[in-house]
């Protein structure tokens, strides 16, 4: 018990206020019910330390804790907006509005370098359990290799520029597979070893695929 409180205090003391997540990441509706449901504690505590990116290279804590390599946040946090102006060549400038005007679109989004060909409203069952996400979170998929509609396709080398499109996915929850058993037996040996496995998988729902208009792309390029 004692060790845990010390570790806890170290963690708390080392989080400089500047490393707190930007305000919009905190849950935007802190719900204080006046009814019997218990009082919801302040949102900042609900984001426990493991979620924040605490790279402690700057100041070493007083108690000589080994400077461990920075704890990688379980869920990637929003990257810094790209400041380099957007270089759109002529063909993209001409055909992107046509692509955006067509009724339905698909995108080949890459999660951990694995492509998922999805349209808006699809359910994606990732082949892994994504740590640190809770049902209801909204993820922005920013790596896509191709984005297209019926007649046009925008291909990225290897990925598209993330300012061209906005693809949001909602974390629906985690689902498991039925229990799989694997019997391991060697010949002339009566002992059978059965291995049970039941992996858990995260389920996403692609909420929205939006293609930004040319002005937005150029606008975001210069103004940032």
């Amino acid at each position: 018990m004692l060790s845990r409180t010390i570790r806890r205090s170290i963690l708390d003391s080392r989080i400089p206020t500047s490393a707190l997540p930007p305000t919009f990441l905190l849950p935007n509706r802190a719900r204080y019910f006046n009814s019997t449901v218990q009082h919801v504690d302040a949102p900042s505590e609900s984001l426990d330390a493991s979620l924040l990116a605490t790279n402690t290279s700057a100041e070493a804590p007083e108690t000589v804790a080994p400077v461990r390599r920075p704890i990688r946040p379980k869920v990637p946090l929003p990257p810094a907006p790209i400041s380099s102006p957007m270089a759109l060549d002529a063909s993209v400038k001409e055909m992107l509005p046509l692509l955006a005007a067509q009724p339905s679109h698909y995108i080949s989004a890459h999660i951990h370098a694995k492509p998922y060909l999805v349209t808006a409203g699809d359910t994606v069952r990732l082949p892994f359990h994504m740590p640190g996400v809770v049902p209801g979170d909204i993820l922005r998929l920013n790596r896509a290799s191709s984005l297209g509609s019926r007649d046009y396709t925008l291909k990225g080398t290897p990925y598209l520029d993330e300012r061209v499109f906005e693809c949001r996915a909602r974390v629906m929850g985690t689902e498991a597979e039925p229990m799989r058993t694997k019997e391991k037996k060697k010949r002339r040996n009566r002992r059978i070893n059965t291995v049970k496995s039941k992996h858990k998988f995260t389920i996403l729902k692609i909420a929205e695929i939006k293609i930004n208009s040319l002005e937005d792309i150029e606008g975001s390029g210069e103004s940032v």
Partner: protein, 137 residues
């Protein structure tokens, strides 16, 4: 006779617009006498209030079930139920099982071969033998 409209109902896409957590109710059954319910009792005493506060959309009921193993029973919006026996588990493990039930969506567990499931039509259209020539034999 001008074109007529056919009356249909739309299909829900939970998660596209609004997100509704599928688990709507969690029943915690414990027993004061049984030793297997020690972890569950400590969970109910210590961390259930925090769990309930963080998941206001789940209705939580706690009721004794004497001389039985402790069990958590989740009721889901599609009407199905999932129950997990938490006998001889510590309170952290009980919390994990409760979160497992909260994150599940009540569907029957089945083997899924392809990661993407869609109800939309194909965006680029499906090949048909009647158009642009088909097979030149």
């Amino acid at each position: 006779m001008v074109v007529q409209g056919i009356r249909k109902a739309t299909v829900g896409q939970n998660g596209v617009g609004a997100f509704i957590l599928q688990c709507k109710r969690l029943d915690f059954h414990y027993c004061d006498w049984a030793g297997s319910s020690k972890g569950m009792n400590s969970f109910l005493r210590n961390s259930l209030t925090k769990f309930a506060a963080l998941n206001p959309q789940v209705e939580i009921t706690v009721s004794p079930r004497p001389r039985r193993h402790p069990v958590i029973r989740g009721t889901y919006i599609n009407g199905r139920e999932k129950a997990i026996c938490v006998r001889n588990l510590t309170k952290e493990q009980v919390l994990q099982k409760a979160e497992l039930l909260r994150d599940a969506n009540g569907e029957k567990l089945r083997k899924v071969t392809k990661p993407v499931k869609s109800i939309n039509e194909s965006v680029r259209g499906v090949w048909s033998p009647y158009h642009d020539g088909g097979i030149h034999v």
